[in-house]
Symmetry: C2
Subunit: 302 residues, 2 copies
């Protein structure tokens, strides 16, 4: 039976979009619920400036809490070498470095050119002990909010550099805007698999325009087996009602289970947590099957 790995990014990509700070205890309880539903890999937090993102100021506590769940793989996002140092000092065993292919987007996020970020990543990797896992989140790999569609050649120029010093790293190509259509996802992953043999690929989908599931399917058709998703689709911009963000974990899980592809996740406990996430103050949620299944239950109960 085929299987995929779902990386739950709601605690990072989702929580950082919620303006009201969620108590650390609530976050850990939600992580516990997701773990109980079968999720074993999280992007659990990000080490960033606490003044820029107060929601993630408890990164070290979250990493500490995650270490208490047997078999839980908690990656932490870092955008710079300095934050990587903080993360490693806090006990992070799985580092997720992010940079953007788009110069405009990378400048806006971390005030560096892509080449500067990649040089900083090389610096991190050179000092990394062999037992630390590395994932690289390649933002704007398909499309940029400032510059429009990303050229595949620009993305590959970045990856050529990265693979020189980090040949074993897992690469997540990220649809940052949600505007990408499945034919482009298919095209980019086809070319990536041709150019780089034996690499480990992940896909990070947004669902802003409702293409998240179609794009996930397109990536899967092209050999991707690791998928980022956010419980309840948490991750929208709270200042843009209707513009939801990340593809929902429950939708991605249901897509694969419907295709007979194992995710290791149980739908009922997962939906319980999705409903709790939906009830968080200021949370902008998305996703589809949560409401469809709740409606179905009401009909069956009646």
């Amino acid at each position: 039976m085929q299987a995929v790995e779902i990386v739950e990014v709601g605690m990072r990509d989702g929580f950082q979009s919620v303006p009201t700070v969620i108590p650390t205890g609530t976050k850990i309880a939600l992580m516990e619920g997701l773990y109980a539903a079968g999720i074993r890999r999280f992007e659990a937090t990000s080490f960033v400036s606490p003044s820029a993102v107060p929601q993630l100021a408890d990164a070290a506590e979250i990493i500490n809490a995650a270490s208490r769940f047997a078999g839980l793989d908690a990656q932490a996002l870092v955008p710079t070498a300095r934050q990587a140092d903080r993360a490693l000092a806090a006990g992070v065993r799985h580092l997720a470095f992010v940079f953007s292919v788009s110069p405009a987007h990378n400048q806006s996020n971390v005030r560096r050119t892509p080449a500067e970020s990649i040089a900083e990543l090389e610096d991190i990797v050179s000092g990394l002990s062999a037992d630390i896992c590395l994932r690289i989140n390649v933002a704007t790999a398909f499309d940029c909010p400032y510059l429009g569609r990303t050229s595949v050649d620009d993305a590959f120029r970045c990856l050529d550099e990265v693979f020189k010093f980090a040949p074993e790293a897992e690469i997540a190509l990220c649809d940052t805007t949600g505007r990408v259509a499945p034919d482009q996802v298919s095209h980019v992953f086809t070319r990536a698999q041709e150019r780089y043999a034996g690499k480990s690929w992940a896909f990070h989908a947004h669902d802003t325009y409702g293409f998240g599931i179609a794009n996930t399917y397109a990536a899967w058709q092209n050999g991707v087996r690791i998928f980022d998703a956010s419980i309840a689709g948490l991750g929208g911009c709270p200042f843009a009602p209707g513009a939801t963000g990340n593809v929902a974990t429950e939708d991605v899980m249901w897509l694969f289970e419907s295709m007979g592809v194992r995710t290791g996740i149980d739908i009922d406990p997962l939906l319980l947590i999705a409903h709790e996430i939906q009830a968080l103050p200021d949370a902008v949620t998305g996703g589809r099957i949560r409401n469809a299944m709740a409606a179905r239950r009401r009909i069956n109960a009646a």
Copy 2:
């Protein structure tokens, strides 16, 4: 440049789900708006018992109104020979006959076995003048609400019979439940294209579980170029909040335009009508890009 044909089914599949009867003049005004947005093919109404579906009691008036728009192709759904006679008497030039592969679903809908419905279709076809177009909507082609997944062989046994007397008919395979995943859509259309050469295929997607766009993409990958969709995703069950129905025309249109595939439809006037549909009393709408684009406009305006 590649192109697809979108068949707007909101006036039939959508309206029949709305319990409050929409005035005929409102329906015609909405049709006019959709025509202005570029839609040229409609499933405009259905000839069914007016007591069973009061919403569609104005079928003859709708067909008459549709005939006044230049180049508008208005198909009318009929479930029986008797209703086909009514439709033809009202001036219908494009007949859409529906039957279900699933015996349980066909029994529930029209109190006939699939074989009886197909025999009735043969009777209709034998009396049809050559200038009347025929489309056949094959309901539960993938999945049945009563019996679960439909066997491809059962669907093909029905099609084998149909093609004996209607070799030129366009065949719409319908995902009646919305539970179908894209791998199954891909599998069924692949096998259908292998078994029946040179036929005209359409795909009718529901979006109840958020798979409508992924399934549309899968059908397109397998050579389908005619797609049913309902403006604003109208078509849910009004008694099951959250369980939306048909895939939204604006989402399907946006999928194809994002892939560089021409639909002949303009997004702005289409969204205007989608918002009017959303405002109809008792309308259960779905779809994704309508709200995402409205949010984007609010940001741009601010």
